[in-house]
């Protein structure tokens, strides 16, 4: 078993144990990531301008 296969199997198993489907995890991960980027990028630029 390669490392990639091991990582994929393990992470899928952990998600299933937590009761989270892979699709749900991916959607939440993508949405939260996008929200953080959309919040932090203008915020950091603003901080730099006002220093």
């Amino acid at each position: 078993m390669t490392f990639e296969q091991f990582a994929a199997t393990t992470s899928a198993s952990l998600l299933m144990l937590a009761g989270i489907s892979a699709d749900r995890f991916l959607y939440a991960f993508r949405l939260i990531g996008a929200l953080l980027v959309a919040t932090l990028v203008p915020l950091l630029i603003d901080r730099r301008f006002r220093r």
């Binding site: 699709d23 939440a28 980027v37 959309a38 990028v41 915020l43």
Partner: protein, 174 residues
Amino acid sequence: MYIGHVGAALAAKRVRGSIGLLVLLVATYTPDWIDAGLCVAGVYNSREMLSHSIPAVLVCALIGFVAYAVATRDWTGALVIAAVILSHLLLDWVTGYKPTWPGGPMIGLQLYDHPLADFLAEGIVIFAGALLYGRTLPPRRRPWVDISIMLGALLSLQLTIDIAHLLMKSLPKC
């Protein structure tokens, strides 16, 4: 709407400069944060009734108004926060397809299916927001440089999202 919501937050900064940009950014994305929370909690509604319907956004705006007013005693600022939260729904009707009320119709232009049109619509809001935001910055010799940096960063983010939509039509939903 994606990055266009930042335009609403930037414009609000011009209306009430005393409100922190972080507070405005959280307010402008409130329905989307609720969506993310519902998804993680396993109670996500595919029609986004609990996050993007008119009653849901009105409740969010009311909570935002009360929370900001109680925390700062700034009633005008609280009104601006409520308006920014409400703007989320109005802007989403331009680019998305959102619920009205339980049992009501779904409305919106669904520009997400047309990434170029989506980019133009979001770009207009971002551009207007960045211009207004520029007037809140401390006086400098070349203020247009600051506005261009903000504008460039936001338009780049939006372009990335639209290209991703174009390349990956069927991303998994919650």
